[in-house]
């Protein structure tokens, strides 16, 4: 092979690496830019930033999650809405790689984020998660702060793995949560002894009226 061809090969490898580094660096810059705008106190900066966040993709999720409990409720809300935009874009047909990348980032948030963030993330996963997400989501069925959101989110995911997760959770669940799990399992065609439905059982008393009991 002529020497210039070897050189060309080296040059093209370097060029490719440079392109990757450049695009990675551009992506990082784009995320930084998005985060800076989401932090802005100016609605006209922050608003369009979250509204246009759909294509920011998986790399933006963790930094945005860090703002989802920001002390400024408008910043927190904008961060949440930006993540929702990313999730819904990732759920488009023919974007499976993006969906998987987003799912991976969301699952990581279930480990270490405050309860309101974990609950919101569970609902995000409910829209795009596949069977690989079932076990980490089901782990939150044993956490009293998240178990109802986890139950609801899992209900949207098809497949026997979810039913199995509910069955396992039922075995160790606190008594009051067993009623909800029993209802869920019955809906999935499973037989559950005891724990009858409470859907039509009234519990809330009014203070209005002569008896003010019911």
């Amino acid at each position: 092979m002529p020497e210039f061809m070897n050189n060309l090969g080296t040059i093209s490898t370097v060029a490719a690496a440079t392109t990757i580094l450049t695009s990675a660096s551009q992506a990082a810059e784009a995320v930084d830019d998005l985060i800076a705008k989401i932090k802005s106190p100016d609605d006209s900066v922050r608003g369009p930033a979250w509204q246009g966040a759909a294509t920011a993709g998986a790399p933006a999720i963790k930094p945005l999650a860090g703002l989802m409990t920001d002390g400024n409720f408008e910043v927190a809300r904008s961060a949440r809405r930006a993540v929702w935009k990313i999730v819904r874009h990732a759920g488009s047909p023919a974007t499976n790689r993006e969906r998987q990348a987003v799912q991976t980032e969301l699952l990581a948030l279930l480990q270490d984020q405050p309860t309101p963030v974990r609950c919101e993330v569970l609902w995000m996963l409910s829209e795009i998660a596949d069977e690989n997400a079932v076990a980490p989501m089901a782990a939150l069925l044993s956490d009293a702060d998240t178990h109802e959101d986890a139950r609801c989110a899992l209900m949207r995911i098809p497949g026997k793995q979810v039913t199995k997760a509910f069955t396992n959770a039922f075995k160790t669940a606190p008594e009051d949560f067993k009623f909800a799990l029993a209802e869920t399992l019955r809906k999935r065609g499973e037989t559950v002894k005891g724990y009858p439905s409470k859907k039509l059982t009234p519990t809330k008393q009014t203070t209005v009226g002569p008896s003010a009991k019911t």
């Binding site: 904008s78 039509l200 009234p202 009226g209």
Partner: protein, 447 residues
């Protein structure tokens, strides 16, 4: 289990007492649903419907006034009022001269075996759960529009109505209103020829320009019960009072509010209740800040096939009429405008004066009251009395209308066009969109 027990008890009650109690038992009217006095499952022609109202604020106050008027006319006995906000409940109870029993929890109302029916005027996210539960306890239902917030809820409502043999009327009143009826018969009988397009114009929805932080709920409001099926979150004044409409979860914006009226009228005029498949592509602008997340302005295009026609929702859209919102039927011989949805406003003079052509096909509507809110309820009562249980806006019709509203919102939030297969009740080739056809509900406030 409780549900089954309730149903069996009620049926047993109806069977046993309905045949055993004769005229001599009329000394106990408060314990007897009106249908006992007629044939089984069919109240007598002169019987008085015993009704409970669930949800008394907003449009609920109009319904309450209607029911009190029916009561004055001897057609109804309002036996229960229910609201999760004691402040509103107190006011409603006062309006009944403290004769109806007040409840906070709607399930107490459903437990009562002396009620024939319930009227539900709660925020949208409650409609399906309360309707299905009411059907399961054997009660006829009048429920505010839109019928549901998801497609699967709508399907469950239809199934519950049919399985329990009750009438479910949805409050899209235009189908019993004179203005919409005049427009309907004119369009169906060719006033503008074959219609290829219907456009809607509508003013913009509000943005939350005064966002506030979460706080404790006001005294008297049972926030847990207000949320009901929705995931729990702290109270915020921008949900309640009065603002539920501007949240996607609880209200769905103007397209699910006014759209439920306008689309219902349009489908009626186009004779398209059975045309259940379509494509929808929607875009909209959601406020940059604040709690409210429904579109301020929105454009949605629905394409129907066989026959082919297009339905366009526009905020603001192309305003051809004089009022805040309305519709234009575009035909091969011109166009016909319908201001609002043909309920509160009169039909266009051309429709009012339309002469039925030879061989023309008349359109039926109940015509007992000039006030279309009253007339719509009269139509519901009539469907029960006559035993056919298919009022003008039967739940199946309303479900189809709500599907248009809900899928437009879905298309907007997903940012893509959706192809809807009405036979299969699913979006074609879009797994993520299909997951949004249901929203799992918080226990025990669930279907």
């Amino acid at each position: 289990m409780n549900n089954q027990r309730t149903k069996i008890n009620r049926r047993r009650f109806l069977t046993v007492t309905g045949s055993a109690l004769g005229a001599g038992s009329l000394g106990f009217p408060t314990l007897i649903p009106s249908r006992v006095l007629g044939a089984p499952g069919q109240p007598g022609a002169n019987s008085q419907f015993v009704i409970g109202q669930i949800g008394t604020g907003g449009m609920g106050s109009t319904h309450l006034n209607n029911l009190l008027r029916f009561q004055k006319e001897g057609k109804v006995r309002l036996a229960a009022v229910c609201d999760c906000d004691d402040n509103r409940l107190e006011a409603a109870w006062g309006n009944t001269e403290q004769k109806a029993t007040p409840y906070r929890d709607y399930r107490y109302v459903l437990e009562r075996n002396d009620l024939d029916a319930v009227l539900i005027a709660t925020p949208d996210h409650w409609h399906a759960v309360q309707t299905v539960h009411a059907c399961q306890t054997g009660k006829h239902v009048y429920v505010e529009k839109p019928s549901s917030v998801t497609v699967r809820e709508g399907q469950a409502m239809v199934q519950a109505a049919r399985a329990n043999k009750v009438a479910v009327q949805v409050g899209a009143q235009a189908r019993t209103a004179k203005g919409a009826w005049q427009t309907c018969r004119a369009i169906r009988n060719g006033i503008v020829g074959k219609v290829s397009k219907v456009t809607c114009w509508h003013y913009d929805s509000p943005a939350d320009n005064n966002p506030v932080p979460d706080s404790e709920p006001p005294e008297g409001l049972d926030w847990d019960l207000w949320l009901g099926p929705l995931p729990w979150r702290p109270y915020n004044r921008r949900y309640q009072p009065a603002n539920f409409r501007w949240l996607m979860e609880s209200g769905g914006g103007q397209i699910r509010d006014r759209g439920a009226h306008q689309f219902s009228t349009i489908l009626w005029c186009m004779d398209a209740d059975k045309q259940t498949s379509f494509t929808v592509e929607a875009t909209g602008t959601v406020p940059t800040r604040g709690l409210w997340d429904t579109a301020i302005d929105m454009h949605a295009v629905f394409q129907f096939k066989n026959p082919d026609w297009t339905l366009e929702w526009g905020q603001p859209g192309q305003k051809l009429g004089k009022l805040e919102f309305g519709n234009v039927f575009w035909g091969e011989k011109g166009n016909l405008i319908l201001e609002w949805e043909g309920g509160y406003k009169a039909a266009n003079p051309e429709a009012q004066n339309f002469q039925m052509p030879p061989g023309g096909k008349e359109v039926y509507r109940t015509d007992e009251y000039e006030d279309f809110n009253m007339n719509h309820k009269a139509d519901w009562f009539k469907s029960i009395r006559e035993g056919h249980l298919r009022p003008a806006v039967d739940i199946e019709i309303a479900h189809r209308t709500a599907t248009l509203c809900n899928l437009a919102n879905m298309s907007m939030i997903l940012g893509r066009k959706l192809v809807w297969n009405g036979d299969k009740q699913e979006v074609v080739g879009d797994a993520a969109a299909n997951r949004l056809l249901s929203k799992p509900q918080r226990y025990p406030y669930c279907l």
